[in-house]
C-alpha cells in the first residue's frame, strides 16, 4: 500500500472527516448528522468484529447480532438495577459476550458449512427469545435506559460530542487491534485455516483452538459495540438481535470488502447512509439495496474497498 495510491488517500480522508465531523456539526448545529454517524461508527465496530471471523477466519457466523444484544442488555440490565458505572457495565458487557461466544463457538466450530451457519443462527435466535421472555426487563417491549454509563465525571457520555469521540476512539483502537492480530502469529494461523484447514492440521496446528479463540475475540468486540449502542439509543429491546440484524452486519462487511481492514467501516457507512436516504424515498428501500448488493457480489469482488484497490491499476 503506497501512500500515493487512491485507496490510501481516500481512507485517510475518510478518517480525517470522521475526526473533524463534530466541528462541522457543531458549527452548523446539525445534530442529526452527528447522531447518524455515531450510529454508523458503532455498527462499523460490530461489522469489524464480524469481519475478523468472517473475512479473516472464513467462519460464516449468522448470529453475530446476538453479541450486540448481550452487550446492550448488560448495560440495560445493570442500569435498571441501579448500577450505572461504566467501569462495571462495559467489562460485564464484554465478558458476557465473550462467554456466550465461547459456548456458541465450542459447539458450532465442530461443524462446517451450512451446519455452522445454522447453529450460529439457532443460538442467535435462542438468545433473542430469551431476551423477549425477560419480564422484569421489558420482555418484547424492551427496556429504557434512563442514565447513560457513568465514568466518574471523567467522560460524559450524555454529551453528544464526547460520546461521538468515545465511539470513534474505540473503533480506531479496535481497528488497530485487528490490524495487529491479522499480522501476528495468531492471525496468520487463522487465515491459513480459512485457506486450507487440512493443510494446517497436517503441519501441526490444532485448528479448533485457534478458531475458537478468534470467535471469542470477535464476540467480545461486538459486545463492546452493543454496550455503546445501548448508550446511544438509551433503549434496548430483543429486536436488536433478531436474525435479520445479523444479516445486516454481513451485508455491511460484504459491501465494504470482506477480509479488508477498513472494508467494514466503508460498508457500514454505505449501508446506513443508503438506508437513511432510500428510506426517505420509499419504505421498501430494501428492494433497492438488494439488487445493489447483488451487483457488488457479482461484479465488485472485494466490495467497495476492493474496487478502490483496483483504481490504481485501472
Amino acid at each position: 500500500m503506497k501512500p500515493t495510491d487512491p485507496r490510501t488517500i481516500l481512507i485517510a480522508l475518510l478518517c480525517a472527516a470522521l475526526i473533524l465531523l463534530p466541528l462541522y456539526t457543531g458549527f452548523t448545529g446539525n445534530v442529526f448528522m452527528l447522531t447518524l454517524f455515531t450510529r454508523i461508527i458503532i455498527f462499523a465496530l460490530a461489522a469489524t468484529s464480524l469481519n475478523l471471523i468472517l473475512g479473516y477466519g472464513g467462519m460464516m457466523s449468522f448470529g453475530h447480532a446476538a453479541y450486540l444484544g448481550i452487550g446492550g442488555y448488560a448495560v440495560g440490565i445493570l442500569a435498571h438495577e441501579g448500577i450505572t458505572s461504566g467501569l462495571v457495565q462495559f467489562p460485564v458487557a464484554v465478558l458476557a459476550s465473550a462467554l456466550f461466544a465461547l459456548v456458541v463457538g465450542s459447539l458450532s466450530l465442530r461443524t462446517r458449512g451450512v451446519y455452522f451457519i445454522m447453529i450460529t443462527l439457532a443460538f442467535g435466535q435462542m438468545i433473542y427469545y430469551v431476551a423477549a421472555g425477560l419480564d422484569r426487563y421489558g420482555s418484547d417491549d424492551g427496556l429504557t435506559i434512563y442514565r447513560r454509563s457513568q465514568f466518574g465525571g471523567l467522560i460524559d457520555l450524555s454529551n453528544r460530542t464526547q460520546f461521538y469521540y468515545v465511539c470513534l476512539a474505540v473503533l480506531f483502537a479496535c481497528l488497530y487491534l485487528v490490524w495487529r492480530i491479522v499480522n501476528s502469529r495468531f492471525g496468520l494461523v487463522i487465515q491459513g485455516i480459512r485457506s486450507n484447514e487440512r493443510r494446517m492440521q497436517a503441519i501441526g496446528f490444532p485448528v479448533y483452538r485457534y478458531r475458537l479463540a478468534c470467535f471469542v475475540i470477535a464476540g467480545a468486540m461486538c459486545g463492546l459495540a452493543g454496550a455503546l449502542l445501548a448508550n446511544h439509543t438509551e433503549f434496548i429491546s430483543p429486536s436488536i438481535m433478531y436474525w435479520t440484524r445479523s444479516g445486516d452486519l454481513m451485508v455491511m462487511v460484504i459491501l465494504g470488502g470482506i477480509g479488508s481492514l477498513f472494508g467494514p467501516l466503508i460498508g457500514t457507512i454505505a449501508f446506513l447512509a443508503l438506508e437513511e436516504v432510500l428510506s426517505g424515498i420509499t419504505e421498501y428501500w430494501q428492494i433497492i439495496i438488494g439488487p445493489l448488493l447483488l451487483l457488488v457480489v457479482l461484479f465488485g469482488r472485494g466490495g467497495i474497498d476492493g474496487w478502490l484497490g483496483r483504481l490504481r491499476r485501472g
Binding site: R180, I181, N183, S184, R185, F186, G187, L188, V189, Q191, G192, S195, N196, R198, R199, M200, Q201, A202, I203, G204, F205, P206, V207, Y210, A213
Partner: protein
Amino acid sequence: MVDPLLRVENLVRRFGGIVATDNLSLDVARGELHAIIGPNGAGKTTLISQLTGQLLPNSGSIRFCDQDITSLPAHRRSALGLARSFQITSLLPDFTAIDNVALAAQAHDGHSFRFWGNARKEGHLREAARAALDRVGLAHRAEIVVSKLSHGEQRELELAVALATKPQLLLLDEPMAGLGITESARMVKLLQELRREVTIVLVEHDMDAVFALADRITVLVYGRVIASDVPSAIRSNEEVKRAYLGDQHAVTRHG
C-alpha cells in the same frame, strides 16, 4: 534388530462394505526410503491418511518412535515429527511461498497464541523458511503467491513445507503426480538428497522413480500387503508381477 521408526500392525479400515485397509502390517526402519506401490484403489492414500491421522482405523495399531499414535489427532502426530505431502497439491493458495513454509516452521516453534508482534518479521521463522525453500530450489520464488506458481513448483513447495516441520518421517503421497519428464527427474534428484537426512515413505506410481530410490518396497493390492522386500526381490516376485507390474507397468510409465 533395532525397533523400527514406524510400526503398523493389523490395521483395518472399512468404508461401508469395502475393506480399504485389510489387516495391514508394515515396518519402516529409521533411515530407509520405503516405497509403497500398488494399482489404483489398492488403498495407498487411505493408508497414508491413517498414518497422519486424517482418518482413524477401525482396528489395529500404529506405533511411531516407540509411542502408540493410533488415536492421536493429526496435529499431535505432526508435533512428534510426522510430516506429509498431499497427492493433490494442498497448500495455502492465497499465501506466498515463503508464508506457506514459515507457517510450517511456526507450527513447531511453540504455540501461536501471540496476537501482537508481526509474525512476518520473526527472523528465525523466515530464515528456517528460506532454508527449506532453498533446499528444494525455490528460494528465488519466495515472494510469489502459491496460486501463481507452476504445478511443478507447487510440488516442490509441498516438500519444503513438510521439511520445515523438521520431520523424522516424511510421508510423500505421489510427489511426481502430474510432473513432466524434466520436473520428475529434478524431483528424483531432490529425493535422493533428502533421503540422507530423513526417513521417507514414498507412495508413487512412477516405477522408474520407485526402483531408483527405494531401499524397500511394499506392494499393496486390495488393501493387503502381498510383498515387502528389497527392489530386486520385488522385481522378480511372481505374485507382484501378476497383480501389478505385468499389466500396468507400461501404462503408468511417464513419457
